[in-house]
């Protein structure tokens, strides 16, 4: 079994798909402008490599139970590591390429997919992480718990995004059923996502805490000490 959230064509009707296409385009335009302010002329190479990282990570399968595996979506992970703007941009580009070259996720469902996985998941994850930043700065345990919650709630929020879209433009199923099905399924996916995200963020923070976007500005400034009596 393989768990993923890429919506296919025809899940929601054409007007709904078009409306969320507009949401996705506007969101991405904002992310693009903000990412440029974040990374200046480094934007293209850094975002390109982070997107390649997201792509590679989505190819890695994790065991969940014997016979079942899933892969990381990485929304909260990139939000914590490189910030929400660059993160959302990278996830959206990965989604576009997956849809056009790998037939993974419908072409007309790109708007809904980008809204759910690049906008909702990344920004919910980042919002949760930001709200818990005080705990994250305390130490490894705090950071791990923050990353877990960010990824878990980000996944749930993305699933809720789907429920809303299906309620607007899908047919044949009462809202209660969609809600129960998607929340149940994605609570499980969210736990997996949370565990992997927490361990990964912990590993990065242990080696290069200066690279973790969430912890930026929290390091003690470099203190220059000189031996007694030496000339300044």
């Amino acid at each position: 079994m393989y768990l993923a959230m890429h919506m296919s064509d025809g899940l929601v009707n054409a007007p709904t798909a078009a409306a969320f296409g507009v949401v996705a385009v506007v969101g991405m335009a904002v992310c693009l402008a903000k990412a440029r302010a974040d990374l200046d002329d480094r934007t293209a190479p850094m975002a390109g490599l982070v997107a390649a990282f997201v792509f590679a990570v989505q190819m890695l399968n994790f065991p969940i139970l014997p016979g079942a595996s899933g892969h990381l979506l990485g929304g909260a992970l990139v939000a914590i590591l490189v910030g929400p703007w660059v993160g959302a941009l990278c996830i959206a580009i990965v989604l576009v390429v997956q849809s056009l070259l790998f037939a993974d996720g419908g072409v007309t469902a790109l708007g809904t997919n980008i809204t759910n996985m690049a906008l909702i998941a990344v920004f919910t994850g980042y919002g949760v992480a930001l709200a818990l930043r005080r705990f994250a700065l305390r130490g490894k345990g705090g950071l791990t718990a923050t990353a877990f919650l960010a990824a878990f709630l980000g996944t749930i929020a993305a699933a809720l995004g789907f429920v809303v879209q299906y309620a607007i433009g899908g047919q044949g199923l009462a809202l209660g059923y969609t809600l129960a099905l998607m929340l149940g399924l994605h609570a499980l996916i969210g736990i997996g996502e949370g565990v992997i995200t927490a361990l990964t963020v912990g590993a990065v923070a242990a080696a290069r805490p200066d690279l973790v976007h969430l912890l930026r500005g929290a390091q003690r400034p470099l203190e220059l000490r000189r031996p007694e009596g030496s000339a300044a």
Binding site: G10, P45, A52, L65, G172
Partner: protein, 254 residues
């Protein structure tokens, strides 16, 4: 893209479809799928028509139908939804093999399955006839923001490198006896992802410096000049035009 940067779904054939400019194919595929999505689920003959249309594109593109069909079996979790719909849907019910199924639910489930499948088949056709570099050219000519095209170019250029690194890390873990079966055994894999991120990020910093030393000004050179001719556009847009005809015929009957 240099040599060797091909994606697994590309099928190199000398065919008119392969030779069409990428921006034409992108637009045609998108409009075609849009017609499929807009079709009312009850129009079974129209969906058959779409399949015949796609099959004729495969014939022109010299793609064996079996090749496409084998790759269209992408498991989607939404198939669960399609199976669930007839069981829990509302409205009038019917007996099939002793099970009580909802008629609107059956129709909605069929709707998801048939449109999802036709969408995947169209995407596969696009992927099979369009190499990576062409896709980037197409994005550029369709006026995607320059920064997005540049990021995508760099991503596609380095994804094989990063994925190769991930593969080597996995082999190294397996060689040391790693055999995870449960989520709580995935610690080593997750720490590997952390290392992979650091390597990707640091590689990004080196790539940036290398680009600067080669005169990077913030914009990629235009990949290729030239635009699609009117004849190429009309050849490519014949696909969505037929799809639109099918859609309209479905509406006029239904």
């Amino acid at each position: 893209m240099g040599a060797g940067h091909s994606h697994p779904l590309f099928l190199d054939r000398p065919s008119p479809v392969h030779r069409l400019p990428p921006e034409v194919k992108l637009v045609a595929a998108f409009l075609g799928v849009l017609c499929v999505v807009a079709t009312p689920p009850g129009q079974f003959a129209v969906f058959g028509g779409y399949l015949v249309l796609l099959a004729s594109v495969w014939a022109v593109a010299r793609i064996p139908p079996g090749w496409i069909l084998r790759r269209s079996l992408i498991e989607a979790p939404f198939v669960v939804l399609a199976v669930l719909l007839p069981l829990v849907g509302e409205g009038e019910r019917t007996e099939v093999l002793g099970m009580s199924l909802s008629v609107p639910g059956l129709l909605a489930g069929w709707n998801i399955l048939v449109k999802g499948t036709l969408g995947v088949l169209t995407s596969l056709t696009l992927a099979a006839t369009t190499p990576l570099r062409e896709l980037l050219v197409g994005m550029q000519r369709l006026h995607a923001p320059a920064m997005v095209t540049t990021i995508t170019t760099l991503m596609l250029r380095y994804v094989d490198v990063i994925a190769g690194e991930a593969r080597r890390m996995r082999v190294a873990r397996i060689a040391r006896g790693h055999d995870p079966r449960f989520l709580w055994q995935a610690g080593a894999t997750a720490r590997g992802i952390g290392a992979l991120f650091l390597r990707s990020y640091e590689r990004g910093e080196r790539v940036h410096l290398a680009m600067l030393s080669r005169g990077w000004t913030g914009a990629m050179p235009v990949l290729t000049a030239g635009r699609a001719t009117a004849a190429q556009w009309s050849a490519g847009l014949a696909f969505p035009a037929v799809a639109l005809g099918l859609l309209l015929s479905g509406w006029s009957i239904g």
